[in-house]
């Protein structure tokens, strides 16, 4: 996870605002509005652990 987290911190994620992204192998493997599609596509591209997150676009849902 550490390698993917460091990538997350350094990467310019502005093109992916409002999308889920999957990170592994020091790159973004997939990005979609749908979490399930993001995850499934990434799983086809690597056997390593995938780091998933949604790039926030504005205020998230405050509960």
């Amino acid at each position: 996870m550490a390698e993917s987290y460091n990538f997350f911190l350094k990467a310019d994620l502005s093109p992916f605002i409002g999308e889920w992204i999957a990170i592994a192998d020091n790159r973004i493997l997939s990005h979609r509005k749908s979490l399930k599609e993001t995850y499934e596509e990434a799983k086809k591209k690597t056997t390593k652990n995938i780091l998933l997150t949604r790039v926030p676009d504005k205020e998230e849902m405050i509960l």
Binding site: F8, K33, L35, K36, L52, T53, D57, E60, I62, L63
Partner: protein, 149 residues
């Protein structure tokens, strides 16, 4: 020992200001999958929440009573459940159980939120806004905090 994480800066198109998000890596462990995710630590949220898609991937028990939680978009149907989780850096690892609301309305778009109840009862959380850092220090959970949401 406390664990320190840096805020994530996300640029947005002008004239919008960049987002400086207190986002931390966390591992969620379900019955089907164990996933590494980045979650937003939200001191404005009473409870932790995840979208249903994530609950489905993890294999989380969704048989609990359905209820409504209030978010920015109004009331949304949800189910409360428990997920094993861990947080770590190079030197420390803390395991705990997180009580979360699984938001069932799939039209509601949001990420993974760690709210005050449960998460903040497992950790002393310090936001250092000027340094753009968040510091977590594990504390024993309160006995009356379990499923108090």
């Amino acid at each position: 020992m406390p664990i320190t994480f840096r805020y994530k800066k996300i640029n947005r198109p002008a004239p919008l200001e960049p987002i400086h998000a207190p986002a931390i890596p966390i591992t969620l462990i379900g019955r089907k999958e164990k996933l590494d995710v980045i979650a937003l630590v939200d001191s404005g949220a009473d409870v932790s929440a995840i979208p249903k898609d994530l609950a489905d991937i993890l294999g989380v028990d969704l048989t609990g009573k359905q209820e409504e939680v209030v978010g920015i978009g109004g009331k949304v149907p949800s189910v409360r459940t428990r997920i094993d989780a861990s947080i770590r850096n190079a030197h420390e690892r803390y395991a705990f159980t997180l009580n979360v609301m699984v938001v069932l309305d799939e039209k509601i778009e949001f990420g993974i939120l760690l709210g005050r109840r449960d998460f903040f009862e497992n950790f002393d959380v310090t936001f250092r806004e000027n340094e753009e850092k968040i510091i977590l220090k594990k504390v024993p959970p309160r006995h009356d905090a379990v499923m108090r949401i």
